[in-house]
């Protein structure tokens, strides 16, 4: 049974929205709240995706007899074999996916730490440019180190939902992603409502003043970059498992650094609801433009492929002119909410 194009549209919208929501929440933590302009957001995302491209093969290797098959060289055949195993043993997915997520979180945290270490004592532009450099490194490693995720060709990864009947498979994936994103949203919202949220905003506003009030901003920035790295890596795992593959070329700074920045700036920084709105708006506009590409072709005085960049860029400029603090601006916590014991 073929799925209705409308269902595919909505399912894909939900899935991509969920992936970006996770990544944008993590960027908002470090940039919107903590003031660390992480122009290397792609680092953690790609780190998570690469974990998804390697760890499941290792773990399934303990359950399935691969014979002479290699994850990268005999990728398609091996994935096929693993998917067949998943169909027969759906319960194995829970363990494998959990292990993959745990490794991804660890890798994301380490990448956050590694990029923070040389960068954190820098300020403003220098910090941003150093982090940008870190983001570039991982893609280059992924492309050139073929045994990691297949180099320029990329690899397919096992379908964690291979046990779901074909006609429900697609929507189940969207639903699972949305559930993950929802849980992460609630956790992040709870986290930023605590005194840590205030601490991070204070670090962003004036780290010198903060230092004279007994806190160590360097330590705080380390922690927030590690945490954001962990969440970013979860986003990477989610995306790679949704598209069932990892291609290092895909982890570029446009899609996984600049677009997240645009989404949180438009939605409203240091405000999780703003991130929600900005992410939804952007993903929806992008999908709509791509969906209606064909019907608009010829009506516009320029090539249709530029339409989504133009639309998104235009929207960002409009928001910056008319609502410079985003659609839902940052709001300090009201005293009443602090008072409740």
């Amino acid at each position: 049974m073929a799925l209705d194009p409308g269902i595919i549209f909505i399912g894909d919208l939900v899935a991509i929205f969920s992936v970006y929501l996770i990544i944008n929440l993590s960027l908002n933590l470090e940039f919107g709240f903590g003031g660390v302009p992480n122009f290397g957001k792609v680092l953690a995302v790609a780190g998570g995706a690469f974990v998804m491209g390697t760890i499941p093969f290792m773990v399934f290797g303990m359950l399935v007899d691969y014979g002479a098959l290699e994850p990268v060289d005999d990728n398609i055949m091996l994935v096929h074999q693993i998917n067949a195993y998943i169909e027969a043993h759906p319960e194995s997915v829970l363990g494998v996916f959990a292990i993959t997520l745990i490794v991804a979180v660890a890798v994301g945290g380490l990448l956050g730490l590694a990029s923070a270490y040389p960068a954190i004592r820098l300020r403003g532009d220098y910090l941003a440019i150093t982090l940008l450099g870190f983001g570039e490194i991982i893609r280059i490693i992924g492309i050139n180190h073929t045994s990691l995720v297949g180099g320029t060709l990329g690899i397919s990864v096992p379908d964690m939902l291979a046990f779901v009947p074909n006609e429900y498979r697609f929507l189940t994936a969207s639903f699972v992603l949305l559930a993950f994103a929802g849980v992460i949203y609630l956790l992040v919202a709870r986290f930023t409502k605590s005194p840590v949220g205030r601490l991070l905003r204070a670090t962003r506003d004036d780290d010198l003043a903060l230092q004279t009030l007994g806190r160590d901003p360097v330590k705080i920035k380390f922690k927030v970059m590690m945490l954001a790295g962990m969440l970013g890596a979860v986003g990477g795992v989610m995306y790679a498992s949704y598209v069932e593959g990892v291609v290092a070329f895909g982890y570029d700074r446009l899609n996984w650094t600049f677009l997240p920045f645009v989404m949180i700036i438009v939605g409203g920084m240091a405000n999780n609801k703003g991130v929600l709105v900005g992410t939804f708006l952007f993903v929806a506009i992008r999908k709509l433009v791509i969906y209606y590409n064909d019907s608009l072709d010829g009506l516009l005085p320029f090539d249709i492929i530029w339409l989504d960049y133009l639309a998104l860029g235009g929207l960002m400029i409009l928001v910056l002119i008319f609502r410079p603090h985003g659609i839902i601006p940052e709001r300090p916590q009201k005293t009443e909410s602090l008072e409740k014991g």
């Binding site: 605590s194 840590v196 506003d205 004279t212």
Partner: protein, 249 residues
């Protein structure tokens, strides 16, 4: 044992010796006023003692313990708080949040953040304390305003409120009444006198001697990076060294 002792403190910027062997001994539980002409090294002294800048020589001791050159957050942990000549506040935070930032809280731990049980009651008691302080400073109605929305005089009051929240033993104020009208200036110093009763010790830099000398318990005078004189406030202006440092020889 002496509370805070600064001995032979040196700080140079290239060839400029901003501190050239400054020595002073704070009088505990008193308002210690630090005066001197522009460029005599008053702010440099506070910046160096509070850990903002590492000294090139000399020692700072707190109750005999060497705290020379520690980073600012460690100095704060030792019980020394400072304010800045141009008030530093968290512009994106409300007044109340600024107040709460003046003292570290258990809820600021990344690990405890998701478990409100571990910090809610502390946060509530700190909030109550802050409300009381804001009320006494007549800032209560502004508590949910962002700190960049209030006036310069109110910012000065907020700084004072933060010192009360911080609850440190020693408070160093860099020009607490600069740019403030005389009525408010007196109010600020009266408030400082009140805080003094809590057992704290003040080191205050101030240029407006007409007002500040009135409230000071003891006065240190700086000139050319050294403490050139110290005396009781009613005698200090007769000191020849002081006159020279302000007016030249």
């Amino acid at each position: 044992m002496n509370l805070l002792t600064v001995s032979e403190l040196r700080k140079s910027f290239g060839g400029l010796h901003a501190l050239d062997g400054a020595t002073l001994d704070l009088h505990p539980n008193k308002i210690n006023l630090l005066i001197g002409a522009n460029g005599s090294g008053k702010s440099t002294l506070i910046n160096t003692v509070s850990g903002l800048w590492a000294p090139n020589g000399g020692r700072v001791t707190l109750r005999g313990k060497d705290i020379t050159g520690l980073p600012p957050h460690r100095i704060f942990e030792h019980g020394i708080m400072r304010t800045f000549q141009i008030p530093k506040h968290f512009a994106g935070l409300s007044l109340m949040e600024n107040m709460l930032m003046a003292h570290p809280e258990p809820g600021e731990s990344f690990r405890k953040a998701l478990v409100p049980l571990q910090w809610k009651s502390y946060e509530a008691s700190q909030t109550k304390k802050a409300l009381g302080i804001l009320e006494s400073l007549e800032l209560l109605p502004l508590r949910d305003k962002l700190s960049f929305e209030i006036s310069g005089g109110q910012i000065k009051l907020l700084e004072l409120g933060k010192t009360l929240m911080a609850d440190t033993e020693i408070i160093m104020l860099d020009e607490p009444i600069a740019g403030v009208n005389p009525t408010l200036a007196h109010k600020i110093f009266k408030k400082i006198k009140e805080i003094l009763k809590g057992g704290v010790t003040f080191l205050i830099i101030e240029h407006r001697l007409d007002i500040a000398l009135h409230y000071a318990d003891y006065v240190f005078v700086m000139g050319d990076g050294r403490v050139v004189a110290h005396d009781l406030p009613d005698r200090i202006l007769d000191n020849k060294e002081v006159q020279e440092s302000y007016l030249g020889k």
